[in-house]
């Protein structure tokens, strides 16, 4: 019977270790551009859209290009594989997920964070009177 328990525990431990390693590997850290530049790892950066600078859709590469200023004030060019996301201009903050390469932040995913629901509601309640 002991051999069974040993085998079972080895399997469980191996699975847990495998899970833990995958967890650490695929964890996408929330950080700033500085870390993104120095590590070249896949990260998430939250920032504000730099509205004074250009933003355009590059048809030939089907990429959307814009500039983002992170919370520590560092500004970088972001190239996103896809079209301009929904609610882009209205977003209070933009979260980009990807890695830094070739002098710009190559984003594979963009999340736009909109004003908190309560603030938005207080505005819209006035409109529906």
């Amino acid at each position: 019977m002991n051999i069974k328990i040993i085998i079972a525990s080895v399997v469980i431990i191996a699975a847990l270790v495998f899970g833990a390693i995958s967890f650490v590997e695929t964890n996408v850290e929330y950080t700033d551009f500085q870390t993104a530049i120095s590590t070249h790892k896949k990260v998430q950066v939250k920032g504000a859209l730099v509205t004074e600078k250009e933003q355009f859709f590059d048809e030939s590469k089907t990429q959307f290009v814009f500039y983002l200023k992170d919370d520590s004030g560092k500004e970088e060019k972001v190239v996103y594989d896809g079209a301009k996301p929904n609610n882009f201009e209205l977003a209070q903050a933009v979260v980009v997920k990807g890695r830094f390469q070739d002098g710009y932040f190559h984003a594979s995913e963009i999340l736009t964070k909109c004003p908190s629901k309560y603030e938005a509601d207080a505005e819209s309640v006035k409109k529906t009177l």
Partner: protein, 775 residues
């Protein structure tokens, strides 16, 4: 006011039911059993009238209630108006409560026949107590002026233009204005899926509490075996319903929301998958216990976990704890709801596992009689693998919480985590779903296994070799495909044999065929999904993805907000027509994209519009220059020479005077002829503006970004964008950017799902019959 009172009375009533059931259970008292039953039925009546009242207020547009104002409006068609009942948190808890009370009526009848009524209904009433308490905290009958006192409560005379108001305190002249229109339903939810999907999902969620109540009843009564038989049809029912709900959600995302796939490992999706996996695992171990009395403790643990995971999932998606880390915006439910949700997890967990620990020693130790080559062992391993998948998915989904505790910063895992961890488990599950069906209870002869294994094994080897030839080369995926094919062939074989004998017993085999088809569908549609983003100029055929020629014909307005984009698809000598839709929603102030799908049996052609470029806003190509850098633009050598600050203007800049002009000097070499071009930046009283300059080939260049460096001029940089001249060969036509993809054999996913549900249905029918026969 009435609604709020109804909830509170219902809460009191269910407490009475719980108390009386408990008393009746302890003292075997018949009087208190009668009280308990009436109290439960009273709760049912109260919850029904409460829900009817909410529905009535929704249908009559009573916008004095914040909830109704928040999610509905007068212009919604009736089915959607009805669905706003559960569009928000308050309402979905109401729906959950409603289904739980109704299921309780059937449960009461069923358990009273089986002699389980008092303990089961006691626990069931506790579950309802939690739900009703949640409704007291998240009350859908909250008044709008309590939600927005600053904007809506006024004192003094009522202006004549106020259409809708109510006196709060007439003596003090305090009144509140009431909106005449609601905010409306999020357009993403405005389709028929919204009408059916949440209903099914919440029926599943409600049923997931049944195995928990039976397990606790078993523990309370020191009945460690019979409860499994009684609980089994309910567990299968819950799994079948929740499974259907999950996959319908996937189809919704695929077909309407335009997520590009049916599964995105999103917390919302995961949170219903986790309890489903646990319940599926428990079906397997319950079956083993019914046959050979083993896995007594495992079944208690899994049945308790089913419900705990439902609660935990609710906590993850409803408490706002995932916050910033997901695409979904999780509404912060407020502090009360947060602690209440956390509290019930601890409470129901402690109740379940505490009781289990106390009874553990008394439980009969059943000596293991089955060999490794027995169906019991295969079932155990299968359940084990399924649970491990649930554990990994739970860990992944809880990542923001885990990282927040460890590192103080919330971070989500990449979806790669789920694929990586569940793939090996999927292989194990598929192999076991095959082998398990070939094994006998207790023990099997090694030789007879080999004999029955031969045919399906050979078939799946041939199948896999075929896949490798076609182009499947990724080793884990090859193994996964082999395992799934093996499960498929074994179950077809076994299912056929069983079906000839007695079709009623084929449920298991059919369900496993469904799972195998699903797995194969996952491989082909997700792993070999071919995707391309392309710009389609109006009227110009563009060939993509090898054999699809797309022609953008034009757009037309479908209604005030929606535009349809007509695209012709020419594939394999046939012409199809698709119309993906973009919708500019005034509700979210954003663009929504609805895909269109060509279903071609062996594959889906999936097309999502990304954006439209009209001729006047055609954006240029962007170039980034360092000082003295030369780049090739449309065949010209362009060098960034320097900035042109003229001294007078430097002075102005310092004094902050209104007008500033800065130039960028570009040297352009076109076939040997050198020109200097100077686009300008101007700041005037009306704001900054850019003056473009013409390049020798007729295109225009505009400054998009400048970074002059005063200290080290060589570090100055500039970005310019170059636009081809209007009217040149770059044409003035509109162009549509689409993302097109091919999902090979995605129909396997839907076929697998339907087969799985049929298998579940047969199993339920059989278990119900079995439970009846032995009365």
């Amino acid at each position: 006011m009435l609604g709020t009172i109804l909830v509170r009375v219902a809460f009191g009533m269910i407490l009475l039911a719980a108390g009386s059931y408990f008393y009746s259970f302890r003292k075997r008292s018949h009087e208190s059993l009668t009280v308990a039953r009436y109290a439960y039925l009273g709760t049912v009546m109260l919850v029904l009238s409460y829900s009817a009242l909410l529905m009535y207020f929704i249908l009559t547009h009573q916008f004095q209630y914040t909830y109704i104002w928040n999610y509905s409006s007068t212009n919604l068609p009736t089915p959607l108006l009805i669905s706003t009942f559960y569009a928000g948190q308050e309402g979905s808890f109401s729906l959950w409560t409603l289904y739980t009370t109704i299921i309780g009526i059937f449960l009461m009848q069923y358990t009273s026949r089986k002699g389980y009524e008092t303990p089961v209904m006691f626990i069931w009433s506790l579950v309802l107590t939690f739900l009703l308490l949640m409704l007291i905290v998240k009350n859908p009958f909250a008044y709008i002026w309590d939600s927005f006192p600053k904007d809506l409560i006024h004192t003094g005379a009522i202006p004549p233009d106020v259409a809708n108001f109510v006196w709060l305190d007439k003596a003090k002249n305090v009144w509140a204005q009431i909106p005449t229109e609601g905010k409306g339903l999020n357009p993403l939810l405005q389709n028929y899926w919204m009408v059916i999907h949440p209903q099914i999902l919440f029926t599943g969620f409600s049923s997931m509490a049944v195995p928990y109540t039976f397990a606790l009843a078993g523990l309370l009564q020191r009945d460690y075996n019979t409860w499994v038989k009684v609980a089994k049809p309910w567990t299968v029912f819950g799994s079948a319903v929740l499974g259907t709900g999950i996959i319908l959600g996937g189809y919704w995302a695929y077909e309407t929301l335009g997520w590009g796939g049916y599964w995105g490992w999103d917390p919302v999706e995961n949170s219903s998958l986790i309890p489903w996996l646990v319940s599926v695992a428990s079906i397997h171990t319950m079956m083993a216990q019914r046959r050979s009395g083993t896995f007594v403790r495992t079944n208690f643990v899994l049945s308790i976990l089913c419900f705990i995971m439902v609660l935990y999932s609710t906590f993850l998606t409803r408490s706002g704890v995932l916050g910033e880390t997901s695409v979904h915006s999780f509404v912060d439910a407020g502090m009360w709801a947060y602690w209440l949700l956390l509290g019930v997890i601890v409470l129901f967990g402690a109740l379940g596992f505490g009781l289990l620990l106390r009874r553990m020693r008394e439980m009969p130790r059943i000596p293991v009689e089955h060999s490794i080559y027995s169906r019991e062992f295969a079932l155990f391993l299968g359940a084990f693998a399924i649970c491990f998948a649930a554990v990994f998915i739970t860990i992944g989904t809880s990542s923001p919480i885990i990282t927040n505790i460890i590192k103080g910063k919330a971070a989500a895992v990449d979806t790669a985590f789920y694929v990586k961890t569940t793939l090996p488990l999927g292989i194990a599950i598929a192999l076991l779903a095959g082998i398990g069906q070939l094994l006998w209870w207790r023990t099997s002869h090694f030789r007879s296994i080999l004999r029955s294994l031969a045919l399906p094994a050979v078939a799946s080897v041939v199948f896999t070799i075929g896949l490798v030839i076609v182009g499947v080369r990724d080793l884990p995926v090859v193994i996964f495909s082999f395992a799934s094919a093996f499960a498929l062939f074994v179950n077809i074989l076994v299912g056929y044999r069983v079906f000839r004998g007695n079709p009623k017993y084929a449920g298991g085999a059919i369900a496993h065929i469904g799972i195998a088809l699903l797995f194969l569908g996952f491989v082909s549609s997700a792993k070999y999904d071919d995707k391309q983003t392309v710009t389609l100029e109006q009227g110009k055929p563009t060939k993509i993805l090898d054999d699809y020629t797309l022609t953008y014909l034009g757009n037309r307005a479908l209604d005030e907000e929606r535009y349809g984009f007509s695209v012709e698809v020419d594939h394999a000598n046939a012409v199809y027509h698709v119309m993906p839709v973009m919708r500019y929603s005034t509700f979210t102030n954003g663009m929504m994209r609805h895909p269109d799908i060509l279903n071609m049996f062996t594959k889906d052609f999936y097309i999502t519009p990304l954006s439209v470029q009209s001729p006047d806003d055609q954006q240029g190509q962007s170039y980034s220059f360092k000082k003295e850098e030369t780049q090739d633009i449309n065949g010209m050598k362009v060098t960034f020479v320097d900035f042109d600050f003229n001294d007078v203007e430097k002075g102005k800049m310092v004094t902050g005077d209104a007008e500033v002009t800065i130039g960028v000097i570009l040297a352009v070499n076109r076939d040997g002829a050198v020109d200097t071009v100077k686009p300008l930046f101007k700041r005037t009283a009306s704001g900054p503006s850019y003056v473009p300059a013409k390049l020798p080939d007729g295109s225009t260049c505009t400054i998009s970004r400048m970074q002059p460096n005063r200290e080290d001029k060589s570090k100055s940089t500039v970005d310019i964008s170059v636009t081809s001249p209007a009217g040149s060969n770059q044409t003035k036509t509109e162009s549509l950017v689409v993302e097109a993809s091919i999902k090979p054999y995605i129909n396997l996913v839907w076929m697998g799902t339907v087969t799985l549900v049929v298998g579940f249905a047969l199993t339920i029918a059989r278990r119900v019959q079995e439970a009846r026969e032995k009365d």
